[in-house]
C-alpha cells in the first residue's frame, strides 16, 4: 500500500468521523430533551455505539413508551449490525480480544467504507478500523457537546441538526442506488415507513417497511455488487 493510498483512506475516515460527529451533537441534545441525563446520553454513545438504535431508543423514551418497547425498538433497529458483522468476519479475520473490539466497531460507516476496498484486504481492514476509530472518538465528543450544550440552547433544532442525520444516511445509501430495483427498495421502504407511522408507533414502521422493501427488491431481482453490502 502506497503512502498516498493510505493517506486517502485515513482522510475519508476522518471526514466521515467529522460528519458523524455533527449529528452526534444533535443526538446529545435530543437525548437530554427526551429526559436522559448527560451521563446517560454519553453511556449510550460509549456502550451502544450505533446511531440509529440510539436515536430510536430516545425517540421511544421521548414519546412516553415503556422500557420494554425502547429496548425492543433499539434492538430491532440494530439487527442489521449482525449482518454487517457476518460480512466483515472473513475480511477482518479477527481473533480473541480483537474480535470483541471488531464487534463494537461494526456499524454502517465502518462496514460501508471497508466494502469500497473489496478484494484488497489490507485497504479494507485499514478503512474499517480507521473509520470506526475516528467515528468512535468524534461521535462521543459530539454527544458530550450536545448533551452539555442542550441546556444553553433553547431549541437544538434551530441549527438544523435534525436534518443532519437523514442527510448522512442518504449519503450512505446513495452509492448503492445504482440500479432501478435497488432504487425501488429504497423508495418503497421510505414511503411505507412514512405511511405506517401514524398507525403503528415506536420503531415498528422501520422494520415493517424495511421488510416490505426487501420483498419488493427480491421480486424485482435487485442485486448489489458482491460485497457491496
Amino acid at each position: 500500500m502506497t503512502m498516498e493510498h493510505r493517506r486517502a483512506i485515513l482522510g475519508d475516515a476522518l471526514a466521515l468521523g467529522v460528519g458523524t460527529g455533527v449529528y452526534a451533537i444533535s443526538f446529545g441534545a435530543l437525548a437530554v430533551a427526551a429526559g436522559l441525563s448527560a451521563w446517560q446520553a454519553q453511556a449510550l454513545s460509549l456502550l451502544m455505539f450505533t446511531g440509529a438504535s440510539q436515536f430510536a431508543l430516545i425517540a421511544v423514551v421521548a414519546s412516553g413508551g415503556s422500557a420494554a418497547v425502547a429496548i425492543a425498538t433499539s434492538t430491532l433497529v440494530g439487527t442489521r449490525n449482525a449482518f454487517y458483522a457476518f460480512a466483515m468476519a472473513p475480511v477482518l479475520d479477527a481473533r480473541g480480544p480483537r474480535r470483541l473490539l471488531a464487534a463494537q466497531a461494526t456499524i454502517d460507516e465502518s462496514t460501508g467504507m471497508a466494502a469500497r476496498y473489496e478484494g484488497d484486504r489490507d485497504s479494507a481492514r485499514l478503512a474499517f478500523w480507521a473509520t470506526a476509530g475516528a467515528i468512535y472518538v468524534l461521535w462521543n465528543l459530539g454527544t458530550l457537546i450536545g448533551a452539555l450544550g442542550a441546556g444553553l440552547v433553547e431549541d437544538p433544532n434551530a441549527f438544523g441538526l435534525d436534518a443532519a442525520a437523514p442527510a448522512a444516511f442518504l449519503a450512505l445509501v446513495w452509492p448503492r442506488l445504482t440500479s432501478w430495483p435497488m432504487r425501488a427498495v429504497a423508495i418503497v421502504s421510505l414511503v411505507l415507513a412514512v405511511a405506517l407511522s401514524p398507525f403503528i408507533g415506536a420503531g415498528l414502521p422501520v422494520l415493517v417497511a424495511g421488510a416490505g422493501g426487501i420483498v419488493v427488491g427480491l421480486a424485482l431481482g435487485a442485486r448489489v455488487r458482491e460485497g457491496g453490502a
Binding site: Q40, L47, S74, V77, M88, G160, A163, A167, S189, L190
Partner: protein, 102 residues
C-alpha cells in the same frame, strides 16, 4: 432509565458479536446473501423517511424537508459526505430562521 440503557446496549453488542461467532456456512445461501445485501438499504431508507417527514406519529412537511432535498442535490453534484451533511443542516436552519417552515 439506567437498566433500559444497559440492557439495550448489551443487546446491541450481542447482535454485533453474533456475526463474528456464527459459522460462515450458516448464512451462505444465495437467498440469504441477497437479503443481507438489501437490509441496510431498506432499513436506512425507512429511517430517512421517518426522520424527514414524521414528527412523533404525525406526517408533515417541516424545515427538515428542504434540508434533505438540498442534501440530495449535493449528492447529485458529487459533493463529499461532510458537505452533504453541513448543507442539509444549514438549509434547514435558514428556512427555520426565516420562518418559512417550522
Amino acid at each position: 432509565m439506567w437498566p433500559t440503557i444497559l440492557i439495550a446496549s448489551g443487546a446491541a453488542y450481542a447482535l454485533k458479536l453474533i456475526g463474528y461467532v456464527v459459522p460462515q456456512r450458516w448464512l451462505d445461501t444465495p437467498l440469504s446473501r441477497r437479503i443481507t445485501a438489501l437490509i441496510p438499504i431498506a432499513l436506512l431508507s425507512a429511517l430517512i423517511g421517518i426522520w424527514t417527514f414524521v414528527d412523533g406519529q404525525s406526517i408533515g412537511i417541516d424545515a427538515r424537508v428542504p434540508g434533505v432535498l438540498a442534501a440530495l442535490i449535493a449528492l447529485l453534484l458529487r459533493a463529499p459526505f461532510l458537505v452533504v451533511i453541513v448543507t442539509a443542516a444549514a438549509v434547514t436552519a435558514i428556512v427555520r430562521a426565516l420562518g418559512w417552515l417550522p
